[in-house]
């Protein structure tokens, strides 16, 4: 899926996407995550690595989980936290995005964790600030820390993603998680299959490194991991599926399909689950589900990312990321 990008991302300073990040860089982050996971198990899970550094969480779009995860990670590293939250609509009340970014930067933030409902906004933000920028989800584009924590969680279970067959099921068209995961999973050697009705697939993806199926039942028995995406209820009102009921019938992971899924396969979901739509309650607690591991690992992974962008460390110099 690598098209020629004229302005490559700068992985040394920012984490704007999986695009532009090499396999070595991804593996380095996963390796470092192991060490931060160990800190999380200590009686006092806190280290002074980022003492005196300021992390600003800049969420133009509502989020509970990602914000909590990043802020927990920052606290465990002893960083100070600035919190900015605004519906992106507040920008239309006169202040430009650039003004907003310059104001936040002037509070002395060393890193801006940016979420926005529109693709590309973190990249634009990175052009207007000296701080590092982490993309915490931009519209339908990327959500790189989610992809990295998913890779970490799979690697934890299987040792390696090489040769794994991973199916991503659901609203891929509108999913930043899917875009980042397609890049990350395939970068680490997995074979990715996108599974959705055509209305929920992005147009013109012939050159993406993926297989595509419109029928979950056709491919489910070949999967080593089944990654379910959240199905938003408004997709129905936009005419993308006839009804949520029909979506659930054809693409939901229920007990019948769970039986078709190989015994040692894994079930993932980025949360928040739309229980009863893409996944039934019973399946959520299936022993093959590693959904809670994803949440736990999210904090360790984000500690690793913050540390790599901000921390001074003998082994892991900034320019290695």
């Amino acid at each position: 899926m690598s098209l020629d990008i004229e302005t490559p991302l700068i992985p040394n300073k920012h984490l704007l996407g999986i695009e532009g990040t090499t396999r070595d860089q991804i593996e380095l982050i996963l390796e470092l995550t192991d060490r931060f996971a160990e800190i999380g198990k200590r009686p006092i899970p806190k280290v002074p690595a980022l003492r005196g550094r300021t992390v600003a969480s800049v969420f133009f779009e509502d989020s509970t989980r990602t914000r909590l995860s990043f802020e927990s990670a920052a606290r465990r590293l002893s960083a100070d936290i600035l919190t900015f939250s605004a519906g992106s609509s507040s920008l239309s009340k006169g202040e430009s995005l650039r003004d907003t970014v310059e104001v936040i930067t002037s509070y002395g933030a060393d890193v801006l964790i940016v979420r926005h409902k529109m693709a590309g906004t973190p990249k634009r933000v990175s052009e207007w600030t000296d701080a590092s920028v982490i993309n915490a989800g931009d519209g339908c584009h990327e959500h790189p820390t989610q992809a990295l924590l998913d890779c970490y969680t799979l690697k934890q279970q299987r040792g390696s993603l090489d040769g794994m067959s991973i199916g991503i099921v659901g609203d891929i068209r509108h999913s930043r998680v899917a875009r980042s995961n397609v890049l990350a999973f395939s970068s680490l050697g997995a074979k990715v299959t996108l599974i959705a009705p055509k209305t929920l697939l992005p147009p013109s993806i012939e050159r993406w490194p993926v297989d595509v199926s419109n029928v979950l039942d056709d491919v489910i028995s070949d999967l080593d991991a089944c990654y379910l995406l959240r199905m938003q209820s408004e997709r129905h009102s936009k005419g993308l599926v006839p009804s949520l009921r029909e979506y659930t019938k054809d693409f939901g992971l229920n007990e019948r399909r769970c039986k078709m899924l190989p015994k040692d396969a894994l079930i993932l979901h980025p949360g928040p689950k739309n229980q009863g739509v893409e996944i039934t309650a019973e399946v959520s607690i299936d022993p093959r589900s590693i959904i809670l591991d994803q949440v736990t690992n999210g904090v360790s992974l984000r500690m690793a990312v913050l540390f790599m962008l901000l921390g001074q460390h003998e082994t892991y110099q900034k320019d290695e990321l």
Binding site: M1, L3, D4, I5, E6, T7, F60, S88, L91, S92, S96, L97, R98, D99, H116, K117, M118, A119, G120, T121, K123, R124, W128, D138, G139, C140, H141, E142, R176, R179, P202, P203, S204, I205, E206, R207
Partner: protein, 430 residues
Amino acid sequence: MGIVLKGGKILDRKGERSLDVSIGSDGKILETGKKLNGDVEVDCSGCIITSGLVDLHVHLREPGDEEAETIETGARSGAMGGFTALVAMPNTEPTTDCLAVVEQVKTLGKKSSCEVIPSAAMTVGREGKEMVQMGELVDNGIGIFTDDGKGLQDPQLMRRLMEYSTGLESRLGRPIVLAQHCEVHELAEGGHMHEGEWSSFLGIPGQPAEAEELMVMRDIALSKMTGARIHFQHLSTLGSVQMVREAKAAGLPVTAEATTHHFTLTDSACSCYDPVFKVHPPLRTESDVKAVKEGLADGTIDAIATDHAPHSQHSKEMPFDQAPPGMLGLETALSLSLEHSGLDLPGVLNLLSWQPAKIAGIDNRHGMTVEEDNPANLCVVDLDETWTVSGKEMLSRSSNTPYEGWNLRGRVRHTINNGLLVVFDGESTK
């Protein structure tokens, strides 16, 4: 004795000749000849002297958004680009849909560096519901109607407009132009760039080529049904060009324009997420660019327009979806056309001056031959001068050019509007 353009080479549809041009105080060309003298002698050595350019598609933003542009600054920008006539789009605030606003635009235009030709909306408030008072506007000289910025969605209302307008042509004394911005709302809604490989890759919601093509197809059918003329604004897709080519071959009264950005830029430009590359219709693919150039070359497309759309800097320093669409064009159009359209010099002048003057119904004073008694609406171009595009240095009030830093060849040295030297030696005099 007034101004004399000395040492240049005239180029018009009659060909080339090395002659001086003397301009009278009545704004007309007094004579052309060797070694003419005058009170003001303007050096044109090494330059071509040709008719001023005519832009069928300009947003001057006044009244309503004077922060982005005024008629004065827009016309100055136009003159700097060699234009002597600008057709002003009616998506002002309030909408140019009635005599009062038309008169305001005309009045302000008279004081400016170009002739400003107001167009009027086809429907009240550009809402696509009711016809404007077309007869009254026609009786006051308005000949171009458009809801530009939006396509007219209702096919029945479009049909009625076509039928009604043909009956007014005798009152205007020339053909009425209904100019359509082809975009089917439901297919384009929520899309901020061309839908394709790049939009999927970038995660920016797209609008497909078919959003434009379906309306081109519909209006060709309605033109056939009613016999009315239709002018297609800013054609941007391979399919649109193909359909217009076929409609012309079938003898239908259709005309079309293409913008400079639709033959110089592609959707890949959006990969930097800078909304300076956001425009409607959106930048398309390589194959669409190729098709537009073929349309320019074979006469399918009659005119090069700019769709000059100034926007203040802060409105473009926004997330891609919240920034308004549109880019500057007046000061770069000629150079870009000379270098990137694939046309030869007379071909460029044909599409930037002679033909658009005809479509706008102003060919009695613009896009004419450089000869005695013709109104002196001229531009003098140094074809060899190279320059670097800088939004900050432009005369537009805004600086949203997508060509920042491009090195271009060919620049306007002087512009004469109605006998007045409005650009002299690359500087605006107004």
